[in-house]
């Protein structure tokens, strides 16, 4: 077990720092999402807000290079890594329809995973660690002296998933399911009734170590990749659930979105960087 943890730590450190001496298969997915978003942020209101969200994101998958010192031992044979970058904006209204929130969310993450393959590589199962940073800003339209709520969370997560490839007459399909949940991390929220005048002079707030005892994140996605003769597309559904708080402060986000993505598979030539 310790050996595996050591391998994971080394992988985190080595990524991107080695010279490329081999061709690598790289998968890139550019996604747009449209969905519904529920949010409760007691920092700005005790009422829940619901509304639409729209976002764009990029996701890339790549096996680790095998020409590194670790790779040549064969220990990286079933290891790959994934990275994501997402931006989303949303507009929400409370249940009384008396106030609105506009928000912006940014998130980025990177993880390494180990995979197993069966049935002529048609079924693939993977698990691994994933590190994610999230930043959210919310603006409540009719608020006085406290118009913005900011939060930042950094999480080390457990990631897992599986994919199943199957073939039609002219099209190949791959059904993917991925799930991530937080293990340990750090989150920050501004002090409860701090005015924005005070925030201007330095944000004071609650920064703390987070884990399953005080912070719950589950993100999962079900998607179907369709490979046509000249292009590959993804359609799917994503669900994100985030729930954390301290004292009177509580933040909950629950969102479901439809995802449409365009997939590129390309090969990175030896001694070339992205």
């Amino acid at each position: 077990m310790l050996k595996r943890i050591a391998v994971i730590v080394v992988l985190f450190c080595l990524v991107g720092s080695v010279a490329a001496n081999e061709d690598l298969e790289h998968t890139n997915i550019l996604k747009i999402r449209l969905g519904w978003n529920y949010q409760l942020d007691t920092y700005i209101s005790p009422l829940a807000y619901n509304g639409m969200l729209i976002g764009i994101g990029n996701e890339w998958w790549q096996p680790f290079r095998q020409d590194t010192r670790l790779g040549r031992t064969g220990r990286l044979a079933h290891w790959a890594h994934v990275g994501r970058l997402d931006v989303r904006g949303f507009s929400q209204v409370n249940s009384a329809r008396s106030n609105k929130i506009y928000g912006l969310g940014l998130s980025g993450g990177w993880g390494a995973f180990y995979y197993w393959q069966w049935f002529d590589n048609r079924l693939k199962v993977f698990v691994g660690p994933y590190m994610e940073t999230e930043f959210g800003a919310r603006y409540l339209v009719s608020n006085v002296n406290k118009p913005l709520s900011l939060d930042i969370a950094v999480d080390v997560m457990a990631m897992g998933g599986l994919s199943w490839s199957f073939y039609g007459k002219k099209t190949s399909y791959r059904l993917n399911y991925q799930i991530r949940t937080n293990l340990i991390g750090f989150d920050f929220m501004p002090d409860y009734w701090e005015s924005y005048y005070e925030l201007e002079e330095g944000i004071r707030g609650t920064a703390r170590c987070s884990g399953h005892w005080n912070h719950h994140t589950i993100k999962h996605e079900l998607a179907l990749d369709m490979q046509f003769p000249h292009s590959t597309w993804r359609v799917g559904a994503e669900h994100e659930y985030l729930n954390y708080g301290t004292g009177d402060l509580h933040f909950v986000r629950n969102q479901i979105s439809i995802v449409i993505g365009c997939i590129w598979n390309y090969r990175i030539k030896a001694n070339k960087r992205l």
Binding site: S45, P46, A48, N94, V144, W193, S195, E201, D248, V252
Partner: protein, 340 residues
């Protein structure tokens, strides 16, 4: 297909697990008791003066919950009036209730004070004026004194506006800065207006905010500093007299408080209106918004400024043909320059 079915089932199961909402959320409701209770709770846990004003807030709860229980659920106007009456007991100009059809307000903080301002009498002085940003200005007393009237700290101005004004007053012996009937606005403008009258940056007060449900739960006191460089290098080295009255409220009250520490300043007129509690807002189950003070502000001696600032020279307007406060300010400037 079995794998596909299992994956979809798994997705649905996890979604169901996370679909329940937390207990902190309050649901939309027009129920009078629920809304009065939520309003009472909001003030009880978040309003910063429950203790210091000596309000028996529990007795108010008992009185108004009983009244709310008698109200019909489909009568929002009566519910609004009841909530407004409950808030009125705080005697705070920063406390308001906002609905789609009305906004409650309290006038007790200035009702029993002399007006100390008459726009007709003021117009005898504020003639042939110019307007730079939100500032009205002209010279009076034969060009010997500069006069600035600022009616709202919500009206912004730039350091360039101030530069023009001070340049036009270059030959004057002093400035009268009139903030009477200025109900406040943006604190940033208060700092910017005060900056040219300070030769160096300094502490002008302290503030702290409610950070817990107890009546005395406050964050540690933080220093409020006036940054002299806000003026962009502009400095006024001659006397300045600040005119205020009871309706100089909120950000104006803070401005009056900080101007006491300016180099050559004198505060005259009536006691300022107070409003030293910076307001915040919160929502009720029916969607109405309540505004209330939640940040307490103090002067440099750590004295609460909620009740207002006593002027250096108390002047009450009595004449019907001249503005006694402006006349006193002119006299003070001439007196100060003669002494020099």
């Amino acid at each position: 297909m079995k794998i596909l079915k299992n994956i979809v089932n798994c997705f649905a199961f996890i979604f169901t697990l996370t679909a329940c909402h937390p207990s902190e959320e309050i649901s939309f409701s027009m129920d009078p008791v629920e809304n009065v209770e939520a309003l009472w709770q909001a003030i009880d846990t978040k309003y910063c003066y429950v203790e210091s004003k000596g309000i028996d807030w529990q007795a108010i709860h008992d009185e108004y919950i009983t009244k709310a229980a008698l109200l019909k659920k489909d009568d929002p106007v009566t519910l609004f009036d009841l909530c407004a009456a409950m808030l009125d007991s705080l005697h705070d100009g920063h406390v308001n209730l906002y609905s789609d059809f009305d906004r409650s307000y309290n006038t007790a903080w200035y009702d029993n004070y002399p007006a100390n301002y008459d726009s007709h009498l003021q117009s005898l002085y504020l003639r042939d004026y110019r307007i730079a940003g939100g500032l009205y200005y002209c010279t009076i007393d034969g060009g010997k004194i500069g006069y600035i009237y600022y009616n709202s700290f919500s009206n912004s101005f730039s350091s360039s506006n101030m530069a023009w004004i001070l340049a036009s007053f270059a030959d004057c012996r002093g400035i009268i800065l009139d903030v009477r009937n200025n109900g406040g606005g943006d604190i940033t403008n208060a700092y910017r207006l005060a900056a040219p009258f300070f030769s160096k940056s300094q502490t002008i007060g302290y503030w702290h905010h409610k950070n817990g449900p107890g009546h005395n739960d406050f964050s540690p006191m933080e220093e409020m500093r006036l940054d002299a460089s806000l003026s962009g290098g502009l400095k006024w080295n001659k006397p300045v007299v600040v005119l205020c009255n009871r309706r100089s409220y909120s950000a104006t009250n803070l401005f009056v408080s900080m101007m006491r520490y300016a180099d050559l300043s004198t505060i005259i007129g009536g006691v300022s209106g107070g409003g030293g509690g910076m307001p915040m807002s919160y929502e009720l189950p029916c969607g109405w918004m309540v505004r209330f003070s939640s940040v307490r502000m103090y002067d440099r001696e750590k004295k609460d400024i909620e009740a207002g600032i006593e002027p250096d020279v108390l002047v009450t307007m009595q004449s019907s043909d001249k503005d006694d406060i402006i006349e006193k300010a002119i006299e003070l400037i001439h007196h100060a320059t003669k002494q020099k």
